[in-house]
Symmetry: D2
């Protein structure tokens, strides 16, 4: 942390600031520039920078270290490869996750999974609990849904990914799901993150709709803090002023994350764009930019889907996407697995 | 809902769209314009508009009714006045909420409350659970904190407002707090909203960092849906590209909400700006724009505050704010109570 | 400027960075922390910080000095008071600017100005050139319009403010207008700013729709760079994800500018909100937050206005606004002049 | 246009609204729904929708037709292919534009162009006028620069693209440049757009930093309105809250534009990200999403570049990019030309 003093700061104010910082447990060193005196604060104590910012004579405070450590590339130089029963995310591997927004019935899941498995998909997704923006919509099958997706996935030798909504559901998901997903709205639900940090299953952490990449990595830090290293980041669009798409899918998050962190990053173009005809081009773009996986909503009959039908692909459209992506991956030294 | 067909839409496509909408339970009527044919869909069924948007020949879909009903001004023309043990929010009344970010000790709360009560504040705030962006920070006193704020508030004849973080804490808050607050990060935690809709205590619902006003009112709808009408909206800043302030406090949300909804709206300029010296002018602005209350972080010793000290005011600075606000309110036909 | 080296930076990389910075004309000093080595660069040379950011071993670069100097509070501690023929903006004075979006006819201007002058308004506004978002709309009366507003303003002893659109129009505006206004879309039209820096008339500089406050002050720096000190900043709303208002009026820009700069700041709530019924509360809020003036669109017959009628007030509604604002100003130590 | 009346609207208010719309030259038809009465207004008159929005009893107004016509896919179903001396943008063709931010000297341009031509680039870019955010930076070589780029391009059989800053420069650019570029800050400089609409050369129109896609197409409409059909859209990043990149490159603009318009769209990942190491992945992503070209800043010695060095690639890095892109294009049915 560096404390930049105002050009008009007095010697007394500088000294006061130094004393304040030392009292918080930091070592200090002072650099006097033409205009500004800068106080360096060295140490790993926790401090709210604004506490210093409001001292007399202080102009502004500059943070040097990142707030996350375990999630940083500095902490771990090699790519983390998350291995879920043989399906790998990260390094040279891309994994394809597909399935309906919501688990509606055994027939629906069986039909969808059969077709996806035939295409080559190894991770089956589906929501069991669906709290919706409207209190008047379908809310999900609950545990019954988890049983269905587990049974169907086992039948087709697939891995299960499903979203956990609150701490009280964690045990249920640990029982039925191979990967637990944290939704965008829960990215900063720190109670949930803390409780999830204790489990030992891979977790997909979606980026919040208005979260910076730094905040996202801080949330990953929560999940990593108890020793579980199998965290997969998932970009799903950020909120901007643009109205032609539901959100703006931030593809540049891929190279940014690759530089800042060792964790794998996947893309959800279904939620990121909100409309079916944008899903294919954005999937290709994601892989071309270096994504470690793609999560797509697929429904065998989107018109009848109880949730998010318009952004769901038909299996046959998905097959086209799968093949496109499979062709692009080797061009950047990766392979679909 | 109106379905606007493309200029190139065929008669068959129009008929198909009409059949689709009827099958969903709507009545339809058709208007043929110079360029576009428009299909009106009348009925109160729930439908994902994108399902229609992807039909052949459809250009776009236009929603006419708002998604919220109970929260709308159309549903209830008169201002809702929330009365918390005699302290009123809404109509001609503004209420002042003040207190520290976090409950740290009995002494701290007692000292702060004593000074606030002397100034005229009737609602005491303080956080008992503090999940922080960093897993390495102070996390709050929990139930012990709630007991402290209750005891202190009773001593000075004040009302208690405190933030509930997850469903498992609701019973605790119902026992100790007069007003339950839902934080910005939980604005779309629909599990929590549903569970809160069953209680009968006033609730402050903060606007999410990147939530539109329409989404905010949808969340209010959740809370209203089981009969509890005592909902107070709280604007606390939205995320924009501007970096000089932590968030951009959306003062225009006040007249917008006043037009769309009957619910009272208060402002939290402490979180909205993040720095102490912006709190006073933004509080005055809020009252001048018609706010029904102001929530301010006050700490008897901000430098020692365990949380958010830099945005906290000293009681003596708060007194100046209280008096300024008290002088402005009558100019717009309101009074501080 | 501070160059923060990576934790893994070698001695050679540090030395290389030091040599690079010295070669650019800076003095350097080095501070070694626990994790990072930080190189301070002292001097007033111009440098693209990213040039340093891409050197090997460099983690990130931190700017200490602001990019603007003449516009900064550090450069000039006292408030600038811009005096336009006796009408003052800044310090303890607020000025009221009012008039139609576009000059349509002598009759229109005369009728509007007569009523505004009677209310107490001393600055008359009106657009002469109106390039519109659609190529198919009314484009303004041009010089004829400027003659009209000049004549009418003189008749009622008012001062003229009008927007200049491109460099070729500057001479015309210098002849007819007392204050030249730079619109939001031209805030970073650096050719225009450079040409305007040579004139000696007061200039109102509107904030760009997506401009940070720092960029805004950089544009003010352009205008100040040739000695004209009479620059008035004007906030008129920024673009955010919110759709209930046309833009989000950033009221907090007022205290932020007051801290960073000595220049006066006024508010344009007509463009900031886009709808008439939001103009009154936002005007009151602006004054309560410390604005040095308010610019309002007023039309004697908004329904017939050729431009922006819906955000225009009737003179009688404006009178209410004027009186409200006049009552609030003294509460914060200011007066309408 | 559809006028949605409030649930509480009286018959008189409905009639009044109908009369108002008819007086503006529209035909009307009325649909009565359960809750809302909706008035359809048919006609191609120009009207400010807010004029209707503020009539008594009106709830909101819905625009049906887009504001742009000539730029729309409805107006022209087939892809526009812009052919610049044999280099094609659009349809099945992607074109590669490369060169330095600023023309600095003959040697610089010659060295860069020689290497780019050898790689296969056929469009050479370079800025002659460089108004910068700081008034204290290098401002470009002007006409001298244009002569240099013309001479060098002819030597290597390349086409020239360069940015025109204001109307007074148009003649100069028509003389020396094959493609005229309109920068992001000028996207809504309607005076400049109008003057450019009269020329007959291809124009690249960059998207404004905070412009919606609809506004961008409106600006294209200006350029198209006098018969010049050779307009190329260029996405270069939008402003969001994210700080890890300079802007957020909106790759989804590619499929969105492809659906709404027949015009070709290219991507500028150099400005869109602001840092060299993000340029390669974002270029691959752009092509994979269907872009009709890529514009890249290349400098034979970025460390010495007078402008934007940090986002410039070395020719050898560019060669890798060129080859990657060339390999991806055929996978989506396109080819680099």
């Amino acid at each position: 942390m560096l404390i930049v003093m105002k050009p008009t700061a007095t010697e007394d104010q500088i000294e006061e600031a130094v004393e304040f910082i030392k009292a918080k447990g930091f070592d200090t060193h002072i650099s006097k520039g033409d205009i500004h005196t800068v106080i360096g604060a060295v140490g790993d104590k926790s401090i709210d920078m604004r506490d210093v910012e409001i001292l007399d004579g202080v102009d502004n405070i500059i943070k040097i270290s990142t707030s996350y450590k375990l999630a940083s590339r500095a902490f771990k130089q090699d790519d983390t490869v998350v291995d879920v029963n043989g399906v790998k995310f990260g390094g040279e591997y891309c994994a394809m996750i597909a399935g309906p927004c919501t688990i509606e019935s055994y027939e629906q899941m069986d039909e969808t999974a059969k077709q996806l498995a035939a295409i080559g998909v190894r991770v089956l997704r589906g929501g069991a609990f669906k709290p919706r923006t409207s209190p008047y919509s379908f809310q999900g099958l609950g545990e019954e849904g988890l049983k269905i997706i587990r049974e169907v996935a086992d039948k087709y030798n697939m891995v299960v990914a499903s979203e956990v909504m609150e701490s009280s559901q964690i045990d249920l998901f640990v029982e039925y799901s191979d990967i637990l997903q944290v939704g965008a709205r829960n990215m900063q639900n720190f109670n949930l993150l803390r409780d999830l940090s204790y489990i030992k299953k891979p977790i997909i952490l979606k980026r919040g709709l208005s979260s910076t990449i730094e905040e996202w990595l801080m949330s990953a830090e929560y999940l990593l803090s108890d020793g579980n290293g199998d965290i997969i980041l998932c970009e799903r669009g950020i909120r901007t002023f643009e109205r032609a798409t539901r959100n703006t899918l931030d593809i540049s998050a891929i190279p940014v994350i690759k530089k800042l962190s060792h964790l794998p990053i996947i893309i959800d173009p279904s939620h990121g764009t909100g409309l079916r005809d944008k899903v294919l081009p954005m999937s290709r773009a994601s892989i071309a930019a270096g994504a470690d996986g793609i999560m797509i909503e697929v429904h065998h009959n989107p018109v009848k889907a109880l949730c998010d039908g318009p952004q769901s692909l038909l299996p046959k459209d998905y097959e086209k996407l799968f093949n496109d992506v499979k062709a692009i991956a080797p061009l950047i030294g990766k392979q679909i697995n």
